[in-house]
Symmetry: C2
Subunit: 106 residues, 2 copies
């Protein structure tokens, strides 16, 4: 996966690790896409990295994360996740303190 283009630290990462039920796949996918769109429009959003079972979103600061958590449509989606889509999940909020990268040049 191409890494998200994030600024120099510090910034924040929200690591969402999940295992899914097999319920309501269509509803899950529609909601997931909608949440990615909504998140990307939030103030302080820096980027997202998405793989099966892991979603990492990057944010400018804690206040940006708190504001996104207060979004009503996001709250409804989280309720759907607990009611139907997730068997288990863990959310970790972490402050990125340093970062370095590599890009092949030849």
């Amino acid at each position: 996966m191409r890494p998200a283009s994030t600024p120099d630290p510090p910034y924040y990462a929200v690591i969402f690790t999940s295992s899914r039920t097999d319920a309501d796949e269509k509803g899950y996918l529609e909601t997931a896409v909608r949440m990615l769109e909504l998140a990307a429009a939030q103030p302080g959003y820096l980027g997202v990295e998405l793989a099966p079972g892991i979603t990492i979103s990057y944010w400018r600061d804690e206040e940006s994360i708190a504001a996104w958590k207060r979004d009503a449509e996001h709250a409804a989606a989280r309720a759907g996740g607990r009611a139907r889509w997730y068997e288990q999940f863990e959310v970790r909020v972490a402050r990125v303190e340093r970062a370095y990268g590599f890009e092949r040049t030849v």
Copy 2:
């Protein structure tokens, strides 16, 4: 993915996001498995979450991360990654400040 069983924060996450070349797949996989085994035996290792393009390892503190980075076999593997296996990657070291989880009970 079943979330790693981590203690109460604070602890550290190393987020490794990568895109691969198509070179030396067998060598890559053998090395990746070996690195997972070696990391798991390090002091301060708390767990790992692995998905295509994203590996997150969890550590007790910065010193544990620094010691793992000094491991000679790990250093050789990283050199292999830059020489052959990765098109691009980003490493982010982050301090997990809070965490919460959900597990379905019915």
